[in-house]
């Protein structure tokens, strides 16, 4: 069967409906439905506005939160670090001056920017969403076109509510089959990145498809889309379906009444046409996936947890060999060491990848009635005030505390070293976050990316472990 020339992929459909202006030889001018901001990447953008005497065009489509600098053990104002404090104060002043809604530290709506958008119902199918933060791709789980931008672009969106953008290439990643019960969304995305590499998605928007993706909850889909950027992709998205609609119905900013029906009609059209062509197609069998752990210093350096640290000589390409050797040196790992024999110092459960209620439920179920290995530092940082409240209503915090975990206030925490939660040089961490770059969690720190289930089991075992390994 031939392809209909007008057949389009989901990302192309969302793109097309946001084009404000198109001209030969110029990038498309896209309208932005939602602009999320936080304290780190916005101060210079607001300065730019002031310098030119420009207002924020649509404060009503702009939302701010405080997350990166938040101290998660004591959220009470003021922040001890004067530089962090100044950055948060600058955001507060800017939001006040330009009339932007801000969720301050300690307020119930506050949390990691990519956690609060969906939970407030602000993230909806078919929207364009941007933020001065690469993990904006998270919102693609709802079938929105959501991508990270730099500070110059933040200023551009503040001033015009639009962005000139080059049309991205399209890529589909289909995960077929049925996911084994031992595997989670995190293992799916780690395996995908391991397969396509850190540059595999550059220039593209990835659409995740297939039975395994369909079977994931919204939380799981957000975990997958969150790490699209780790494969280099501009964005990642998943066509909305009943799972999406059920998640959204009744949320504070979701349409209600007749508007809900109108929205549903529209959202149901948001899927790639059957004969739409993708520039790149990747198919993965999800049925034989196993839990994954990263061993190196980029997120494509991952392996099944049942295996061992690879030997650099095993890589065909010279550049991969060099990168692996460098990574193992930084990570303090000898080739061929079984992962389950590597002792771990710290377990961090949190970040915009895995700090939602479902992640905490999974981790709590693993540690319930068990104890964190003596000497291990283990802590749980809910992604938002709402997640924290929900977890406490379910008693999850008691489970964690009884097991020996610290129970913290919402923020980015040990995902990146901008607040007091840091690794010390040489410290080894099993982390549910998204980046294992050198120094990401603190200078000299050694990060291993894992799922919440593996992180929880590792806290109990003292070395990398899956829940199945615990007796």
């Amino acid at each position: 069967m031939g392809r209909t020339p007008s057949a389009r992929t989901l990302s192309e459909k969302v793109w097309d409906r946001h084009v404000v202006r198109q001209a030969d030889g110029e990038p498309d001018l896209l309208f932005i439905d939602l602009h999320l901001i936080h304290e780190v990447t916005s101060p210079q953008a607001f300065d730019g506005l002031r310098l030119h005497g420009r207002p924020v065009r649509r404060p009503d489509l702009t939302v701010a939160t405080e997350d990166h600098n938040v101290p998660t053990d004591d959220i009470a104002w003021p922040i001890a670090d004067p530089v962090s404090r100044q950055q948060v104060e600058t955001l507060r002043d800017n939001c006040e001056e330009f009339g932007i809604a801000l969720f301050e530290m300690g307020s119930p709506g506050q949390g990691i920017v990519h956690v609060i958008g969906p939970e407030m119902g602000l993230t909806q199918p078919g929207m364009t969403i941007v933020c001065g933060d690469s993990h904006t791709s998270t919102h693609g789980a709802f079938g929105a076109l959501a991508f990270g931008i730099g500070t110059s672009e933040v200023e551009h969106v503040l001033a015009t509510q639009t962005l000139p953008q080059q049309r991205p290439a399209t890529m589909s990643v289909t995960v077929e089959g049925t996911l084994p019960v031992s595997c989670t969304a995190k293992d799916v995305i780690l395996a995908i990145i391991g397969r396509i590499g850190t540059g595999g998605g550059i220039g593209s928007v990835i659409e995740y498809r297939g039975e395994v993706v369909r079977s994931l909850s919204m939380e799981g889909r957000m975990t997958v889309c969150n790490m699209s950027i780790e494969a280099g992709a501009r964005a990642g998205l998943i066509a909305p379906d009943d799972t999406t609609f059920q998640y959204l119905e009744g949320r504070p900013n979701a349409p209600a009444g007749p508007a809900w029906e109108a929205a549903l009609d529209d959202w149901r059209s948001l899927r790639s046409d059957d004969d739409a062509a993708f520039d790149t197609e990747v198919v993965i069998d999800g049925s034989d996936l196993v839990p994954h752990v990263s061993w190196g210093t980029n997120p494509a350096q991952v392996a099944p947890i049942d295996g061992a640290v690879p030997h650099p000589d095993g890589f065909a390409e010279a550049s991969s060999r060099d990168a692996a050797a460098r990574a193992l040196q930084y990570m303090g790992l000898a080739p061929n060491t079984p992962f389950k024999e590597i002792p771990v110092d710290t377990v961090f459960i949190g970040s915009c990848t895995n700090s939602r209620i479902e992640d905490l439920r999974v981790a709590a179920a693993v540690v319930d009635g068990r104890r964190v290995r003596p000497g291990m530092r283990a802590f749980v940082v809910p992604g938002s005030g709402a997640v924290k409240a929900q977890a406490e209503a379910e008693g999850l915090h008691e489970v964690f505390k009884a097991a020996g975990f610290d129970w913290r206030e919402p923020g980015c925490s040990m995902c990146l070293a901008m607040n007091p939660d840091k690794l010390s040089p040489g410290e080894r961490c099993a982390s549910t976050s998204n980046r294992n770059f050198e120094g990401r969690q603190g200078k000299g720190g050694r990060t291993h990316l894992v799922s919440p289930a593996v992180a929880a089991a590792t806290a109990v075992a003292g070395a990398f472990a899956t829940p199945g390994d615990l007796r």
């Binding site: 015009t160 509510q161 550049s319």
Partner: protein, 197 residues
């Protein structure tokens, strides 16, 4: 933004792949609210190693940075571009750039020169052995050349981006010329779309 037409300078060989923006500028430096003063943060953790190439006096005059593939992946921090530029580099050469880094570069007048893996390899090797090699990046012709080493290559840049670099134009000013288009787009948006008004 200042116009950028042609850069002729020596280069620094950063022979590594997957140089992410966390390495270019570690997160400690992200707390600043200013747009200047980031040069000291450039590769600040790697610079503690005396053997790191940035500490090699033979390359102290370099204004072109040459790296392996996947340069500038990871975090969206524009601070990475500010740090590279404020340190004194005017162009970065790599076989593949992170998308956001690439965008951020052009907004600030730092030229992302994307060349084939073979060209990058030859450049890295020739600059490492002959640090005085002069390299020219020509934004008008979209070419990179190192005549002494017999290297010449073309690099891609979208027409509109090239135009903005050559003229030193500011994006926001250009977009505001189309305010009417934006207003009519806004008028046609469905009323049920979320808003915080």
């Amino acid at each position: 933004m200042k116009p950028v037409r042609k850069i002729t300078a020596t280069a620094l060989p950063l022979d590594r792949s997957d140089v992410d923006t966390d390495q270019i500028i570690p997160s400690d430096w992200l707390k600043r609210v200013e747009r200047t003063g980031f040069e000291r943060g450039l590769f600040s953790e790697w610079r503690e190693d005396p053997d790191f190439v940035l500490n090699d006096p033979r390359f102290s005059e370099a204004r072109i940075l040459i790296a392996g593939p996947n340069f500038g992946t990871g975090s969206s921090r524009e601070h990475a571009v500010w740090a590279i530029q404020q340190y004194g580099f005017e162009a970065v050469v790599s076989p593949r750039f992170g998308d956001i880094f690439r965008n951020n570069s052009t907004k600030n007048g730092l030229v992302p020169v994307q060349v084939s893996a073979d060209t990058a390899r030859s450049l890295l090797d020739c600059v490492a052995t002959e640090p005085a090699t002069q390299i020219t990046v020509d934004v008008e012709r979209l070419t990179l050349s190192a005549p002494a080493a017999g290297i010449s290559a073309e690099f891609p840049l979208e027409g509109a981006v090239q135009h903005r670099l050559l003229e030193g134009l500011d994006d926001i000013g250009l977009t505001l010329l189309h305010t009417e288009d934006i207003t009519s787009f806004e008028d046609a948006r469905p009323a049920w779309m979320p808003s915080l008004a």
